[in-house]
C-alpha cells in the first residue's frame, strides 16, 4: 500500500478530494519526495543539539545531593550556564544491565515518560549495587563485575566490565537538557515568530523560569548566577515553520541529548528503520540517523533518513564482547555516529599516524530527542546472545506465531472482488503452488471506511472466507487507523461522540487527509480508546468477518497526506495531556497492539492470531509482524532488504520481511524469481504489488520462472518445522531468527559487516542472489572448525573460507551446517495447515567429528495451549553412530500423529551393514532398510516409522 494511487481513478472521490489528490501528486511525482522531509538543518532541536561542541559541558554533579539505595542511587546535576537542576537516577538491573535516567528536578510541567507496559513489558527488575567510592571528584559504584564511575565536573559516567571501559556517557560533554520554561507573557500574546526572533536576539533580561526555579540550598551559587549567562534562545524555539506548516510549540524547547561512547568498538548496529547497511556508518558528512515514524514515498536507499518505524536500540560489537544501549524515548530522535577509525578516511588525522597502530578504536554516538527524558538502558552483554536476552527482558519477544503466518502470503493492491479472490486461490491450486493467506487492500472497503465491505464487489465475505478456510487458508483485510469523517460511518461517529479522536492544537478533532479524504484518528495512546478499538474486531461488530479473517494495519505512523512530513502536526494533542511531539514514535505500536488484542479476544484468547504493521516501536515485536513498507521492484531494493531485515531482527523485530517483488513498478522475471529465492528466507514472507503494476502472481510467469518459484516456496514449506522451532526459541530468548553472521561467529572480524548473506538460526546459511544476470557468487563459510553442506547437492564446504559457487537462476546458495539436525516436512501440500500431521524427514549433517545435534519444537500450530504445556520440545543427537531422540522439556506433553518417515545422514563416510531402531526400554529392536549414496556421502534410512514424541535410538553398524 502506498500513496502513489492514481487519484483520478479512485471511485466515489469528491471533487475537492480529487483536487487535493492531484496537487499532492504534483509534489510526489517529482521523483523522490526528499523535500517533504526535514533535514537536520530544518529541525530546530536537531540543529541546536548538533551545534554542541565537545569538551564544554556545563553540567556538574552535586556530590552532596547523592542518595544511595540498595538498587539505585540518585544525584542532582546542575547546569552551570542557566542554573537549572536535574536529577539523575541510576539503577542496577537484573541480567547485567544498568539504567540511567535524567529528568528535571522540578519541572514546571511534567515531562513525558513512556508508561511501563507499553514499550517496556514491566518495571525492570532491580539488582543490588554497591557504592565503593565517593569523594569530591567522583562516585564509584559496582554491580557484580561491573563498575560505574560518575565524574563530578564535568559530569560524565564511565561503565566498566571487568575493568574494561565499555561505555561512556557524556564523555564528550554534548549533553543538553532543555528544561521547560515559560514564554514571556507579552510574547505569548503576540505569537509572532519574527517578533520573538527579534526579542530573543536583543533582550538582556534572563528567562522567566529562573525566578520560579530556585534551587534548594546553594544560595551562594544562585547569587553568582543570578544574572543568567548568555541566553539559550534561538528563533525556532517557540515556533517553527517547515514548508507551509507552522508548529505552534506551546511548551517551547524541550529537547534532551547526550553522547554515548563505545571505547574499543568499531562496529555498531541497530536503530532501525533505515534503508541502509547493517553496520551503521559515520554521520560526519551526512545528516544523523533519524528515528521518526514517517510514510516515505519511494524511499531512497543507503542514507540515514527516517522511515516507518523506530527502535532506539544500538549494539556495539567487537571480538571480545557485545554491549548495547536502549534509548527509551518515543519522541523524534536523531543519532550522530562518529568513529576514530572510520572517520580517518574522511579527515586524515596526523596525530593518528604519529600514534601508530596502538590507537584503540572507538565509536562515539550522540543521541537527541525532541522531548521526554533521558532514559538509557545499558546492556552489558557480554555475548551477542546475552544482549539479545537483555533487550528481550526489557521489551519482550515475539510470541510464537500460528504456523500459517510464517508460511507464504499472497497480497496485491487489490484483488478486485470475491470472484477475483476465488480465481487467484484456484490458480494457486491449479499450478500446485502453496500459499496460506490472501490479502485484501483498501479497495475492499466501502469508500475506505474500514470494517466495511464494498458490497457490490464483496457481497458475501463470509462465504468467500469459508471457501479459503476449508483449505486451511486465511484472509487478511486492511484496517488503517484513519477514520473517514462521515456522519453515516459509525466507527467514526462513535469515536467522535465519545471524544476519542486526536485533537488539534485548538482542541478540535484533528482533520487530515488520507485514503478516504477528510479523516480523523482515534487516540490510541489512551487505554480506553484501545479497548474501544479492540471491541470493533468482535465477530458481531465487524460484519462479514470470521475467525479466519486477520488484519493488517497500514498508514499507522500515522500517514497524513496533507500533514507536515506526511504525518501529524507535532502540536496535535492526546488524551493523556501530551502532544504528539512527545510520543510520536509509539503511536503506531498502540494501533497494532489494540488490533491484535481485538483479534485475540474473538476466541477468548484461545487462538493465536496475526497482525502486520508498518509503523513500529520498541516492543512492537510482542504484537505484530513488520514489513519494510513501500519498496520498489528494483534490484537495489532486493539487495537492501537483507540488511534492513537483519537490522530489524537485531532490534527484536524478528517477524519481519520485505514485499517480495517490490511494491512499486514491474519487476522483470529474473528479478521476481530471485526475489522469491531471497524472500523464502524472510521470517515474514509476503508478495505484494501496487495498484498500477501488472499482475505477477507466480502462476502468471513463464513456466521456467514459475517452476523455480514453486521450488523456492516448497523449500520454505519443507523447512517450516525448523522455522517454527526457531520462532519458539526466539520467544524464549529473544535471539534474532534472520541473523547476521557475527551473532554466531562473534570473534570472526571478517563477518562483522557482512550483510549480503545471513544465518537462519544457527544451522542454515544463505546467500541469495541479488544482482541481475549473476550466475555465481562468493559465499563466505564462517567458522574455521565448521563445515557446511549445500542443501541440494550435499557438497561440502570448509568453514573460515570464502568460495565462489555457481548460482544459475534455479539455484539458491543455501547451506546446512555440519553438526546440525534439521527436521523437515517434504510432502508438498496446498497450505501449511494441511501439513500438520505429515511425517518428518530428519536431515542430519555431520560435523568433522561425525557428530550432530538438533532440536524440534511442535504443538497444535495454532492455539495458546502450548502455554498450558501442550507441546513437545525434543532434541536429536547423533554420535558414535547412534541417533537418538529425547525430550528436553519435560513440562511439555503433546499427542500428535506426526511421525518420522525418513532420516538422511549427510557426510557419512561409508555404506553401513546394518541399521536398527529400538525404543526407550531397549526392547522391540527393529531392523531398518537403508540406501547409501557414495558420491554424496549420504545415508538414507528408510521409514523409522516412529512417532515424533517417541524416545528411540537408531544404531548404525
Amino acid at each position: 500500500m502506498a500513496m502513489s494511487i492514481q487519484c483520478a481513478l479512485i471511485s466515489q472521490i469528491k471533487m475537492l478530494q480529487l483536487l487535493f489528490c492531484l496537487s499532492y501528486f504534483v509534489i510526489l511525482s517529482s521523483a523522490v519526495s526528499r523535500e517533504n522531509f526535514k533535514t537536520c538543518e530544518q529541525s530546530g532541536f536537531c540543529k541546536r543539539n548538533r551545534a554542541m561542541q565537545p569538551g564544554q559541558s556545563p553540567y556538574i554533579a552535586l556530590i552532596d545531593s547523592l542518595q544511595v539505595q540498595a538498587n539505585s542511587l540518585n544525584i542532582q546535576l546542575l547546569n552551570k550556564n542557566n542554573n537549572v537542576r536535574l536529577k539523575l537516577e541510576a539503577y542496577g538491573l537484573q541480567d547485567n544491565m544498568f539504567r540511567v535516567k535524567i529528568n528535571e528536578l522540578s519541572p514546571i510541567k511534567e515531562r513525558y515518560e513512556i508508561p511501563v507496559g507499553d514499550s517496556l513489558i514491566e518495571e525492570p527488575r532491580l539488582h543490588n549495587i554497591n557504592l565503593s567510592q565517593k569523594d569530591k571528584d567522583k562516585i564509584v559504584f559496582t554491580m557484580d563485575s561491573n563498575k560505574v564511575v560518575i565524574s563530578v565536573e564535568p559530569f560524565r559516567m564511565d561503565i566498566y566490565s571487568n575493568d574494561d571501559p565499555v561505555i561512556s556517557i557524556n564523555a564528550q560533554g554534548l549533553m543538553k537538557f532543555e528544561h521547560y520554561r515559560k514564554k514571556e507573557s507579552w510574547l505569548i500574546n503576540t505569537g509572532s515568530s519574527i517578533f520573538s526572533w527579534f526579542t530573543n536576539h536583543f533582550r538582556e533580561a534572563p528567562p522567566a523560569e529562573n525566578e520560579e526555579e530556585k534551587p534548594e540550598g546553594e544560595e551562594k551559587k544562585e547569587e553568582e548566577n543570578a544574572v543568567e549567562t548568555k541566553t539559550e534562545e534561538e528563533p525556532d524555539m517557540w515556533e517553527e515553520t517547515f514548508k507551509t506548516f507552522t508548529d505552534s510549540k506551546p511548551h517551547g524547547p524541550s529537547s534532551v541529548g547526550i553522547d554515548v561512547s563505545f571505547p574499543g568498538f568499531e562496529d555498531v548496529y541497530g536503530i532501525p528503520e533505515h534503508a541502509d547497511t547493517m553496520a551503521l556508518k559515520t554521520t560526519k558528512t551526512t545528516d544523523p540517523y533519524r528515528l521518526f515514524n514517517l510514510d516515505v514515498f519511494e524511499y531512497e536507499l543507503y542514507n540515514p533518513m527516517a522511515l516507518y518505524g523506530a527502535v532506539p536500540l544500538m549494539y556495539a560489537h567487537n571480538e571480545m564482547r557485545t554491549v548495547g544501549i536502549f534509548w527509551h524515548n518515543a519522541a523524534e530522535t536523531w543519532i550522530d555516529i562518529s568513529s576514530n577509525t572510520a572517520d580517518k578516511s574522511v579527515f586524515s588525522h596526523i596525530a593518528d599516524f604519529v600514534k601508530g597502530n596502538n590507537e584503540i578504536p572507538q565509536t562515539d554516538t550522540h543521541w537527541f530527542s525532541e522531548s521526554g527524558v533521558i532514559d538509557i538502558f545499558i546492556l552489558l552483554g557480554p555475548t551477542p546472545s546475552n544482549v539479545f536476552k537483555q533487550y528481550a527482558r526489557l521489551t519482550g519477544t515475539t510470541p510464537l506465531p500460528p504456523l500459517y503466518s510464517i508460511a507464504y502470503h499472497q497480497c496485491r493492491w487489490n484483488y478486485n472482488d470475491q470472484d477475483d479472490v476465488k480465481s487467484v486461490d484456484a490458480n494457486f491450486d491449479k499450478y500446485d503452488i502453496p500459499y496460506d493467506v490472501i490479502w485484501l487492500d483498501i479497495e475492499h472497503t466501502d469508500g475506505k471506511k474500514y470494517f466495511t465491505w464494498a458490497h457490490e464487489k464483496f457481497p458475501h465475505p463470509e462465504e468467500m472466507i469459508k471457501n479459503l478456510s476449508v483449505k486451511g487458508r486465511k484472509l487478511v483485510t486492511i484496517v488503517d487507523p484513519h477514520l473517514k469523517r462521515e456522519d453515516g460511518y459509525s466507527v467514526y461517529t462513535d469515536a467522535r461522540d465519545k471524544g476519542y479522536l486526536v485533537k488539534n492544537k485548538d482542541g478540535n478533532d484533528y482533520d487530515g487527509w488520507c485514503w478516504p479524504g477528510s479523516s480523523s484518528w482515534p487516540d490510541f495512546t489512551s487505554a480506553e480508546v484501545r479497548e474501544w478499538w479492540t471491541s470493533k474486531f468482535s465477530l458481531s461488530e465487524y460484519k462479514g468477518s470470521t475467525p479466519d479473517l486477520i488484519v493488517w494495519n497500514d498508514m499507522n505512523e500515522p500517514s497524513v497526506f496533507n500533514g507536515p512530513e506526511i504525518t501529524f502536526h507535532k502540536d496535535v494533542k492526546h488524551m493523556n495531556g501530551y502532544e504528539n511531539r512527545d510520543l510520536h514514535n509509539i503511536y503506531g505500536l498502540y494501533v497494532h497492539q489494540a488490533t491484535m488484542d481485538g483479534l485475540l479476544r474473538r476466541s477468548g484468547g484461545k487462538e493465536r492470531s496475526f497482525v502486520l504493521t508498518r509503523a513500529f516501536f520498541a516492543g512492537s515485536q510482542r504484537h505484530s509482524a513488520v514489513w519494510t513498507g513501500d519498496n520498489i521492484g528494483e534490484w537495489s531494493h532486493l539487495k537492501v532488504s537483507i540488511p534492513m531485515i537483519l537490522s530489524l531482527n537485531l532490534a527484536g523485530i524478528t517477524f519481519s520481511g520485505a514485499d517480495v517483488g517490490g511494491f512499486f513498478k514491474n519487476p522483470e522475471h529474473e528479478l521476481i524469481t530471485r526475489w522469491y529465492q531471497t524472500g523464502v528466507f524472510y521470517p515474514f514472507l509476503r508478495a505484494h504489488a501496487h495498484l498500477d503494476t501488472k499482475r505477477r502472481e507466480p502462476y502468471l510467469l513463464p513456466e521456467e520462472h514459475m517452476n523455480i518459484i514453486r521450488e523456492a516456496l516448497r523449500l520454505r514449506y519443507s523447512l517450516l518445522p525448523y522455522w517454527y522451532t526457531l520462532f519458539y526459541q526466539a520467544e524464549q530468548d529473544g535471539l534474532p531468527i534472520f541473523r547476521p553472521l557475527w551473532v554466531d561467529y562473534p570473534k570472526s572480524k571478517e563477518v562483522f559487516r557482512m550483510d549480503d548473506q545471513f544465518l537462519l538460526g544457527s544451522s542454515i546459511l544463505a546467500k541469495p542472489i541479488t544482482d541481475q544476470g549473476t550466475t555465481n557468487t562468493n559465499v563466505h563459510f564462517p567458522g574455521r572448525h565448521d563445515i557446511w553442506y549445500d542443501i541440494d547437492t550435499y557438497e561440502v564446504y570448509d568453514g573460515g573460507v570464502t568460495k565462489n559457487v555457481a548460482a544459475p537462476l534455479d539455484k539458491i546458495p543455501v547451506y546446512q551446517k555440519g553438526g546440525s539436525i534439521i527436521p523437515r516436512k517434504l510432502r508438498p501440500r496446498r497450505s501449511s495447515s494441511l501439513m500438520y500431521q505429515d511425517p518428518f524427514t530428519l536431515i542430519v549433517c555431520l560435523d568433522q567429528q561425525g557428530n550432530a545435534k538438533g532440536e524440534i519444537y511442535l504443538d497444535d500450530y495454532h492455539t495458546f495451549q502450548y502455554r498450558n504445556g501442550e507441546y513437545l520440545h525434543r532434541e536429536f543427537t547423533f554420535n558414535n553412530n547412534n541417533l537418538s531422540s529425547k525430550n528436553i522439556d519435560p513440562k511439555g506433553q503433546f499427542n500428535t500423529r506426526e511421525w518420522i518417515e525418513k532420516i538422511i545422514i549427510v557426510g557419512y563416510p561409508k555404506n553401513p551393514l546394518n541399521i536398527s531402531i529400538k525404543n526407550f526400554s531397549g526392547e522391540n529392536s527393529k531392523r531398518l532398510a537403508h540406501k547409501y549414496n557414495s558420491e554424496e556421502k549420504s545415508l538414507t534410512i528408510r521409514k523409522p516409522g516412529v512417532n515424533i514424541a517417541d524416545v528411540w535410538t537408531i544404531t548404525i553398524e
Partner: protein
C-alpha cells in the same frame, strides 16, 4: 511407544486392501502392474522392491509408482474412481490432506482429518444436467451460428463482388481521368494565350495613362510654382516654397534652390517635367491641391490591385481585393480628407482592366468546363480507391472459421456497471464512458485473435487504447463464450488498465462438446 507406530502401519495397510482387487489409487487398467508377488517392479524406473512396500506411505520408486494410494511420492497421481460421476486423477499430495478432492471421498481414506461423503451421484447428475443444458445451448446456438456463417460468407461474397466491381470502375475511371486531363490541357493552352494577350495590352495602356497623368500633375505644379506666369520656374519661385528648405533653417537658400533646379537659373515646361519634377514630387506640397503627390501614390497602390490572372479563382480575387482595401484604409482616409477635387470612382474604373473580349471569354468557358470534368473524374477515382482499400482491409480481416464473426463487424454492444458503460464494437474498438456522462475513453482498437494454441478464436485482443497515467496503453482481452445472442456479459480490470470482457455470441457455439472436454483436461 513403538506400538503407536505399528498402529499407523496397520491403518495404512488396511487402506490399501480395502475390498479392492488392486492397490488403492490406480485404475483397473493398471492393475496388471500390481499383481501380488514377492516383489514389485517400479513401473518406469524398473527398480525392484518388496511387494509390501506398495502403498506403505514411503516413497521407494523414483517414479512414485509404489505409492499410488498415499501422499508419499509427490510426483505421483491418485486415481479416483468416482462411480456415478467421471473418474479422475488428482495429485498425490492431495491424498489424506484433509480436503475431499474426489467426489467419492476415496482420497481421504484415513478419515482422521475429515470424513468425506460420496457425492458422485449427486454431482454426476448435476454435471449431466449442466452438460445437457450446455449441450442444448450449444445446439441452439449452433443453429444461429449457421446463419452467422451464411451471413458472413454472404458478406464476404458481396464484398468480393463489390471489390471486383470497384476495381473495374477504378480502372475505367483512371482512363477517363487521363482522357479528361488531356482535354483540359488542350483547352487551357489557347485560354492562356488569349488571356496573356489581353493582359499585356492592358499593361501597356496602363503605362501610357500613367505617364500622361504624371505629366498633367507636373504641369499643374509648374503653373503653381511659376507665380509670375512667365512660363519658367526661376530660383526665386523655388525659394518661395518652404518645403525646399533642406537644412530646415527656416529659409530656402540659393544653394538649396539651385540644388532643386539642377544648377539652372530657370527652366521651361518641358525641362521641368523631364528634370525637375521627378526630384521634387515627393517633397512638394501643393497649396491648391495638397493631394497631387498623394494622388499619384494612390494610383500606384491601385496598380497593385490589378486582378490576379490565375484562372478560375474569381472568388479569391474578390477576397484579395477586399484585403488590400482594408490594409490601405488609413491611407485612403487621409487622402479623402484632403482630396476634394478628384472623383474617386472614375479613377478606379480607369484602373480596372476591361473585360476580356468575347473570344477569350469563350476560351475560358471551354477551359472551365474541361477543368470541372477532370476534377469530377479525379474525385470519383479517389472514392473508388478508398472503397477498394476498405473492402480489401475488410476481406483481410480474420473473421474466424467460415467467417462466422463477420456479421458482428459494424455492430456495437454495451454493458453498464456501477460506474461505467462499456462498449465493444467487434473488429473495431472497445471503450468506456462514465455512467454519469463525460467523455469516452478508448480501451483499445482491434488487434488480433488471442486465444491459446488450442483455440485461437476463443479470445480477442483490443490494444493501443488511451495511455494510462504512469502506466501502459489500455487494452482489452475479450473472452468469448457460447450464447443465444450477442451480449457483453461482464467487464473487469485484473491489472491496472488491462481489461477483460466476457462476450457471449452464437458464433462461439459448437455442437461438439469441446468445452466439457477442456475442463477435464485442465483438471489433469
Amino acid at each position: 511407544m513403538l506400538n503407536s507406530v505399528f498402529i499407523v502401519f496397520t491403518l495404512l495397510q488396511l487402506g490399501s486392501s480395502d475390498n479392492l482387487s488392486h492397490p488403492r489409487g490406480i485404475p483397473a487398467s493398471k492393475a496388471s502392474f500390481y499383481r501380488p508377488a514377492e516383489t514389485f517392479r517400479c513401473i518406469q524406473s524398473g527398480k525392484t522392491i518388496p511387494f509390501e512396500y506398495i502403498n506403505d506411505d514411503y516413497c521407494d520408486c523414483e517414479d512414485g509408482s509404489d505409492e499410488p494410494g498415499t501422499s508419499a511420492c509427490p510426483m505421483m497421481r491418485y486415481y479416483c474412481e468416482n462411480i456415478g460421476h467421471k473418474p479422475e486423477y488428482i495429485l498425490s499430495s492431495r491424498v489424506n490432506d484433509g480436503i475431499c478432492d474426489c467426489c467419492d471421498g476415496s482420497d481421504e481414506f484415513e478419515g482422521e482429518k475429515i470424513q468425506c461423503h460420496n457425492f458422485c451421484e449427486e454431482i454426476g447428475r448435476k454435471d449431466r444436467e449442466e452438460k445437457e443444458k450446455e449441450k442444448k445451448l450449444q445446439e441452439e446456438g449452433s443453429k444461429i451460428k449457421l446463419n452467422y456463417i451464411q451471413q458472413g460468407q454472404k458478406i464476404r461474397e458481396e464484398k468480393k463482388v463489390r471489390l471486383n466491381q470497384v476495381e473495374k470502375e477504378k480502372d475505367e475511371m483512371a482512363e477517363i481521368k487521363t482522357d479528361l486531363e488531356n482535354k483540359k490541357t488542350e483547352a487551357e493552352t489557347p485560354e492562356k494565350e488569349a488571356k496573356e494577350r489581353h493582359e499585356k495590352a492592358w499593361e501597356e495602356e496602363k503605362a501610357k495613362r500613367k505617364a500622361e497623368k504624371e505629366k498633367q500633375t507636373a504641369l499643374i505644379v509648374f503653373d503653381e510654382i511659376d507665380s509670375n506666369d512667365d512660363q519658367h520656374v526661376e530660383m526665386g519661385e523655388i525659394m518661395a516654397h518652404s518645403e525646399f528648405d533642406i537644412d530646415a533653417d527656416g529659409t530656402v537658400s540659393h544653394d538649396e534652390a539651385k540644388e532643386y533646379l539642377e544648377e539652372l537659373e530657370k527652366v521651361g515646361r518641358d525641362d521641368f517635367i523631364e528634370k525637375i519634377w521627378p526630384n521634387i514630387k515627393e517633397i512638394f506640397k501643393s497649396k491648391k491641391s495638397d493631394s497631387v503627390a498623394k494622388g499619384d501614390k494612390d494610383s500606384q497602390s491601385t496598380e497593385e490591385k490589378v486582378p490576379d490572372l490565375t484562372p478560375n479563382v474569381a472568388d479569391d480575387d474578390e477576397d484579395d481585393y477586399d484585403g488590400d482595401d482594408d490594409e490601405e484604409d488609413v491611407d485612403k482616409q487621409r487622402v479623402s480628407e484632403i482630396q476634394d477635387v478628384e472623383n474617386k470612382t472614375p479613377e478606379e474604373d480607369e484602373d480596372k482592366m476591361p473585360d476580356y473580349d468575347e473570344e477569350t471569354k469563350q476560351l475560358i468557358a471551354a477551359a472551365d468546363e474541361a477543368r470541372n470534368q477532370f476534377n469530377d473524374a479525379d474525385r470519383k477515382l479517389r472514392e473508388a480507391e478508398t472503397e477498394m482499400n476498405n473492402l480489401k482491409s475488410f476481406l483481410d480481416l480474420d473473421f474466424g472459421h467460415q467467417d462466422v464473426y463477420a456479421s458482428l463487424k459494424g455492430q456495437c454492444f454495451e454493458m453498464t456497471d456501477r460506474e461505467y458503460t462499456y462498449k465493444l464494437c467487434p473488429f473495431d474498438k472497445a471503450s468506456q464512458r462514465p455512467k454519469s456522462g463525460g467523455t469516452e475513453t478508448s480501451l483499445g482498437v482491434w488487434g488480433h485473435w488471442s486465444g491459446d494454441e488450442t483455440d485461437k478464436y476463443s479470445a480477442m485482443k483490443y490494444e493501443k487504447g488511451q495511455n494510462c497515467w504512469n502506466g501502459p496503453d489500455r487494452s482489452v482481452q475479450v473472452l468469448l463464450q457460447c450464447g443465444m445472442e450477442n451480449t457483453l456479459l461482464s467487464t473487469s480490470e485484473p491489472s491496472r488498465c488491462e481489461y477483460q470482457f466476457e462476450f457471449a455470441t452464437p458464433a462461439y457455439c459448437s455442437q461438439e462438446d469441446s468445452n466439457a472436454n477442456k475442463e477435464t483436461h485442465d483438471e489433469l
